[in-house]
């Protein structure tokens, strides 16, 4: 590989990692607080992408979609959590199972909405104007939108860190992740906190869907890909912490990109090999606090 190509692929890898961070942060947040692996996370991501498609079609604005779609997903999360998960509090496995049913419903809904221009065919979302050209980096052209994704991921990571460390909400989340029962005993309304956490996680999944749509397009099966990748990221990085999601994304994003270029047949095997090594030698993930294996 020429140095230009290496740089280009490195940027691709980092931008994929940034996207994975947005995706995995939501999954990790929900797990950290509620001990639930939300298997509808991929479906939320997919729904986010398709909602963005409709918002852009109606208003013509990608930026409006980036603002509105996470709010819509948050609203769905605020309804779903009390309706389905709250009554199963303490039955973590059943909560996970319910999210499987939820994802079946969401994916089928998307498949059936031909009248909204969704349906089972491959769709694409245009790169927003202003970001739809390439700029020269070290002598070769590079699509500006992918740089935007990198920037977006970094800004989001910083924002989430500040919220986590400096705000009252962040303090509640940290306390809830540490010991939700004790937090409840101290008089905090954990039901509300859980609903909001779930909504925030759904919003992040939707946000990832919007950001990813111009790069990867929209098609059936994208929910599964997103779910698998976010699970791998949290296993590698560590479940239930922002740092874990960041570390996992930073490893998996570039590894997948370079794997695809260098050993296309074994790209996925490479990712799984990394996951296996982490599980064997660091069962908590790189920066995690929860032991996944023993």
């Amino acid at each position: 590989m020429t140095p230009e190509l290496v740089l280009q692929q490195a940027l691709n890898g980092i931008s994929f990692g940034a996207l994975l961070f947005v995706l995995a942060a939501g999954l990790s947040l929900i797990f950290g607080m509620m001990d639930v692996v939300n298997l509808a996370h991929g479906a939320f991501y997919m729904l986010g992408a398709y909602l963005a498609l409709s918002v852009v079609r109606i208003t013509g604005s990608f930026w409006l979609a980036l603002l509105v779609v996470p709010l819509l997903l948050a609203a769905i999360g605020l309804v779903v959590e009390p309706l389905l998960l709250r009554r199963l509090r303490g039955r973590h496995l059943d909560q996970v199972l319910v999210t499987i049913g939820l994802s079946l419903v969401i994916v089928d809904f998307i498949r059936l909405r031909d009248d909204w221009g969704w349906g089972g065919e491959v769709r694409s979302l245009a790169v927003p104007p202003g970001l739809d050209h390439s700029i020269a980096i070290a002598g070769s052209d590079y699509p500006l939108y992918r740089l935007f994704v990198i920037g977006f991921g970094i800004v989001l990571a910083l924002t989430l860190t500040v919220i986590h460390r400096r705000t009252r909400l962040g303090a509640l989340i940290r306390a809830g992740v540490g010991d939700a029962e004790m937090l409840s005993a101290l008089g905090v309304d954990t039901d509300r906190l859980f609903a909001r956490t779930f909504a925030a996680g759904a919003a992040l999944a939707g946000m990832a869907g919007v950001i990813a749509a111009p790069v990867f397009g929209l098609q059936p099966g994208m929910d599964v890909d997103a779910l698998i990748f976010s699970l791998i990221v949290v296993v590698v990085g560590g479940l239930g912490s922002l740092g874990g999601a960041a570390a996992g994304s930073a490893v998996v994003g570039p590894a997948n990109t370079f794997g695809t270029v260098l050993v296309p047949q074994f790209a996925l095997a490479l990712i799984f090999a990394i996951m296996a090594l982490v599980l064997l030698f660091r069962p908590t993930g790189l920066l995690g606090r929860v032991r996944i294996g023993r």
Binding site: L84, D94, G101, S103, D108
Partner: protein, 319 residues
């Protein structure tokens, strides 16, 4: 007659009724269609039964069981093609062997975890098998699937015709159900139940729980592989979807709707799910939505599944 004997007689009678369905339904207009659906229900009941060995008996919620179903399907199809043989036992043997080996590899990593983490790991690792099946185009046919699976034959007796194949599926279903029944009644099955109830205590009692989990994972994988081989023979086709997450989800949905940890549950669950996916879907377009909602309702309100509901009704009637 004692209750145990009565149960045996009822089970054998029910099996005979099911196994002879193509014969006594021959006059019906939709006999062939119904035969095909019942055949698939039995195939998936084997698959769901093997998954229930993990989920219901040993308390290991796997979401990667399709890897072994599809792995077995590909193994039977490919071995038949490469060796140019129709022999059923070679096909089923290859399926059980390959699926068991896949389960060994995935299990080595996955049994380190329990509960939700076990589910996460089996899901992610099984997806690797899917990716392999998808990429190894010259072996599996890639995204086009593997067409032209050879007709199975049992020591020269052709099992290709629909009625012979149906009988084969019914016989294998009976054998696998017997096997699962024997396993769950054995001391080994008791140890699995102990694993489900309290793994730490089992370790304290001196059980090597990791080996126990790995062994049941391999056994369940091999049985799922046999179900996959039957599916390959039935459709004369193996699709990458057989290895995909969707099939794992279907299996888990069958186990939970039918009733985890019961012998009848997988059959009831397979029947309910295939009814929704095949029969209902021809009249309503949103069968997956129905399936998702039914699944949620069972998890939330009827965790004991159809088998548990039936048992409750039976207990009410008796008292």
């Amino acid at each position: 007659m004692s209750r145990g004997l009565l149960g045996w007689v009822a089970a054998v009678a029910a099996w005979i009724v099911i196994a002879t369905f193509p014969q006594w339904s021959r006059e019906w207009e939709s006999s062939r269609y119904a035969t095909g659906i019942i055949r698939d229900i039995l195939v998936f009941a084997i698959f769901a039964g093997s998954l229930d060995l993990l989920v219901g008996r040993a308390g290991l919620p796997s979401l990667g069981h399709a890897a072994f179903f599809g792995g077995g399907a590909y193994a039977a199809a490919i071995v038949g093609q490469r060796l140019g043989t129709n022999e059923l036992l070679i096909g089923l043997g290859a399926a059980a062997l390959v699926a068991g080996l896949l389960a060994l590899f995935i299990g080595l990593l996955a049994v380190r975890a329990t509960g939700i983490f076990f589910l996460m790991l089996t899901l992610a690792l099984a997806q690797m098998v899917y990716a392999l099946a998808f990429q190894a185009t010259d072996l599996t046919g890639g995204s086009n699937g593997f067409a032209g699976v050879r007709r199975p034959a049992f020591f020269g007796v052709d099992l290709g015709p629909a009625e012979a194949l149906y009988l084969l599926v019914a016989v294998v279903f009976a054998l696998m159900t017997l096997l699962l029944w024997r396993v769950t009644r054995s001391p080994y099955g008791r140890a699995l139940a102990g694993l489900r109830e309290n793994e730490r205590r089992m370790r304290a009692l001196g059980y090597d729980t990791r080996t126990l989990k790995l062994s049941v994972f391999v056994l369940a994988g091999a049985i799922a592989g046999i179900a996959g081989a039957l599916s390959a023979y039935a459709f004369r086709f193996v699709s990458p979807n057989d290895v995909a997450l969707g099939t794992s989800v279907t299996g888990l949905v069958m186990v939970l709707i039918g009733g985890a940890g019961t012998l009848l549950g997988p059959l009831l669950g397979a029947a309910a799910v295939l009814f929704i996916e095949r029969v209902l879907s021809s009249s309503v377009g949103f069968s997956q939505t129905v399936l998702g909602i039914v699944f949620i309702l069972f998890v939330v309100f009827a965790r004991q599944g159809l088998a548990g509901l039936l048992r409750n009704v039976a207990a009410k009637v008796r008292s």
